[in-house]
Symmetry: D2
Subunit: 293 residues, 4 copies
């Protein structure tokens, strides 16, 4: 299958060949990384991840009957030797878990970027192509925060446009360049979606802008709007950016700490390391992105 | 309990107060981080983690009857909507998983640093003190690799001493300073321990040296020797460095990529980010440390 | 250790030797089973288990933020071949799961029946003695229901005594005999325990009566009272019957269906099969006991 | 969709209406159960389940690097109060686990018995129709063992025919009647399937015979042959009996104990209780069927 072009949507299928598993991470060149390195001057840093408090897997007769759903469940081990150990069960794909989506998470039709049949890619034994394996050694690039909520959270239902992003560039004195990771702050918590509570979200117009600018990676405290901005079309971030442009997404970022540090330092660009546990063959995985200034 | 001093061992119990959960991470000052930042010039980087290929949790009638044990098991979700998802079950504390030990992982007597009863700290609901919560926002510091295996792996059973470490400093033209993360390369794989196959390991002499130097964090492709160098005493890294000096350990690092990059760049110091998934209340967690040059 | 006799409590440690793993199941002789067989005449039957609706292990962006805790979590597998499969994570020891307690579930001091050190019996690799292995091939015996809630549930905080049980025998025209499984119906749901909501429970007096009668197995919709009837002593069912008398307990039975069938048939004795999945080495396991008339 | 008849295969789609979830369990009438009850005279019994030794979920630095795959993994809980607890992760659908297949396990085309779209029946939240819910209160019926391996195991690759089954009836002096559970013993272990090691299996001819006889439930130490007897058609037991006739299957039974007891008692019919944990909404579940004589 060629680049899906039914809706004249931006896309990168074929741009880096038929065996590519990196997508827009290809835009992170040595020059981009050298620019990223040049951002590091103080050693100040911020985490872009939400904190997670696990639920215990086992319960007592006195345990509560309802629990807040956590992306992580832990189980403490019985050991007789004074060493404490545990394991965790992790639902990566959870609104309360900051996680990175692999390209194979999304299908366009029955195909996964850059045109492989999904049923050959996603198998019970693991994802065979364009999985978290692509992130296994970590991603290092320049990051830019565009803070759309400096004064107050974006209003319910707001569609973030290219204009919003360019206004933020102007206001902050920063420019998004090819290969950058783009962090967009809505000022909203990364809560699960609720009927009757519309969220703001990224518009297709903003995604086209990311395509033109050569953004390599998106990380935001919100992503696609709910309910959908265009119920008839693909979702801008998942359906177009991830699925067609092959741009990995970090869902459910927590950007308050980063925004506070940027404001303090009066700088909105930084070195970003994205290094989830080095696990192969998944559709996504929890991550704790680190911005260093 | 006061600092355990029964064996005249180095220790830090009480040094940062009775409510401290950071241990030697307190040594990472703003100055240390500024020095770390100064290491970043090119944007070249390496991961210090072993790759992990998960086992599937579910099996078919045709599945093999034995498997190589993996620290991770994955389960692909059934979805009817073209989106692939999965979860993972992670045994953090596994030789084939690069993981960071929280201070509460280790007890000295029945107490956990800096002197709390283990049975109040380690509970079925989670670890209440000195857990992975201390690492939740990530660790950023200067890292130094001392490569003891430039020519060949350390011999079986070798005890790494302060002299070995200082020789490496000399050879490499680098100096371990207070607040640094110390990476020691043995040139050995992070395999499970096997009776009859003695490994090299860190001696108590080397741990005393780390204490004098003010090392904040240890990361090595091997750690404590097996069988123990001193069967009658505490293990140098886990019993003394982690348990008494309150120095977090990254077990099971993979340092081949880092060593190759250091050799190419002819530099053995770098910015190190250690950012496991931001999960609270565990005894340890898988991590993908990233060195940036 | 000899039979724990500090409180003049009934006990069976040593009664069947130092290698016994069956406890009061030894009382189920061939004669008992022949009598059980004689109860089967119609093929009518009832389940004594609570129904369990699993929670899914994985969640969507639209999933609820709180869930009722379920003893079971399921995960549907991705399969590409038209066959649906799944796995389940089972917390056996949950108020909403009808489960059978193995003898090793309970310690008296630091010992497990009939006097083995707990730390040798309960290990991270599994329970090595008096575990669910003892139930692996199933238990078949005569069962008797004593329904204490024919008209209404027992009152909050009621302590069930020997007299209550004997009154029920009289009223129902049935007799509890050596080797029988005793089902006691309180008319209460098997809910988790809540502060401020006292439950009825079995008294020590009733447990002494079970000891005299030679009950082999207890199954009730409630068990030990909450708060404890005697806060200073061991709990009657878990501390004395399970721990000292070595009588397995089925916690959290659902007896409404059984009571209705007994009332319809005007018979309170039956053949009982107790056959959990044949899994070795656990402290307890979910079970679906079946009464056949 | 009407009863799938493309291959003139036996089928029951529509026989019990469009809302039926029981399939051939409808054949277990009160008369059948009364006959089953009449089989119970001695209280002797046998389990039809394989024993399962769990693997521990957590490992130590000294754990082996490969394990025999077990359908169950257990994790012992850390508790500070002398009570041992654990949880288990159960892959029901495993050759080494005796388990019962729900009707929704199998699809014919894209439909599940009796004609519902699979993607509406099998969902991430659980199976909404014809799941294990149908078995939740247990199955009680008459069972018959046809032992085809009294002298030696069936030969590799043997196709069991109606003639084989009728010969066994003659030899054993027993008759399979409507509503019976049929246990067929091949004398083979319930091992995973291996290329190059052909197993014996049930032929379509034998399944047609089961249909004529009105068998309600199949339980065997082997089931469908591997490699398939007819590679071009549906598998006799899963594709035809389960998928089209809506006959639940118990896979991976262990019939050696039952066969020994039948031989001793010189009786091949019995009361069978099939009572898995009462968990709703799964595609199958581990079970420990019990035969009582």
């Amino acid at each position: 299958m060629a680049n899906p072009t039914d809706l004249d949507l931006p896309g990168n299928w074929g741009r880096w060949g038929s065996d590519d598993e990196l997508g827009t991470l290809n835009l992170i060149t040595d020059d981009v990384r050298a620019n990223a390195a040049a951002e590091v001057r103080t050693g100040r840093w911020a985490s872009l991840a939400q904190p997670i408090t696990p639920n215990p897997m086992i319960s007592s007769p006195f345990a509560p009957t309802t629990v807040d759903v956590s992306p992580v469940q832990q189980m403490m081990s019985h050991t007789g030797i004074g060493v404490a150990a545990d394991l965790m069960l992790l639902t990566n794909r959870h609104a309360k878990s900051t996680h990175i989506d692999a390209l194979a998470h999304w299908s366009t039709g029955d195909e996964v970027y850059p045109g492989r049949p999904r049923n050959q890619v996603v198998t019970a034994e693991g994802v065979t192509f364009a999985s978290t394996t692509a992130f296994a050694a970590g991603i290092v690039t320049r990051g830019v925060l565009l803070d759309l909520a400096i004064e107050e959270p974006l209003p319910s239902g707001h569609a973030v446009t290219a204009r919003d992003l360019e206004d933020a560039e102007q206001r902050q004195g920063v420019e998004v360049r090819p290969g950058d990771a783009l962090a967009v702050r809505f000022g909203w918590p990364a809560d699960p979606l609720l009927p009757g509570k519309p969220t703001p979200g990224i518009s297709l117009d903003a995604v086209r802008w990311m395509h033109r600018r050569g953004v390599a990676l998106y990380t935001g405290d919100r992503g696609d709007a709910y309910p959908p901005l265009d119920p008839g079309g693909p979702s801008p971030l998942h359906g177009v950016a991830l699925g067609r442009m092959a741009m990995p997404l970090i869902d459910g970022s927590q950007l308050d700490d980063l925004a506070a540090l940027c404001a303090e330092l009066e700088r909105y660009s930084f070195l970003l390391t994205v290094a989830p546990p080095r696990v192969h063959g998944l559709t996504g995985i929890a991550v704790n992105p680190i911005a260093v200034f």
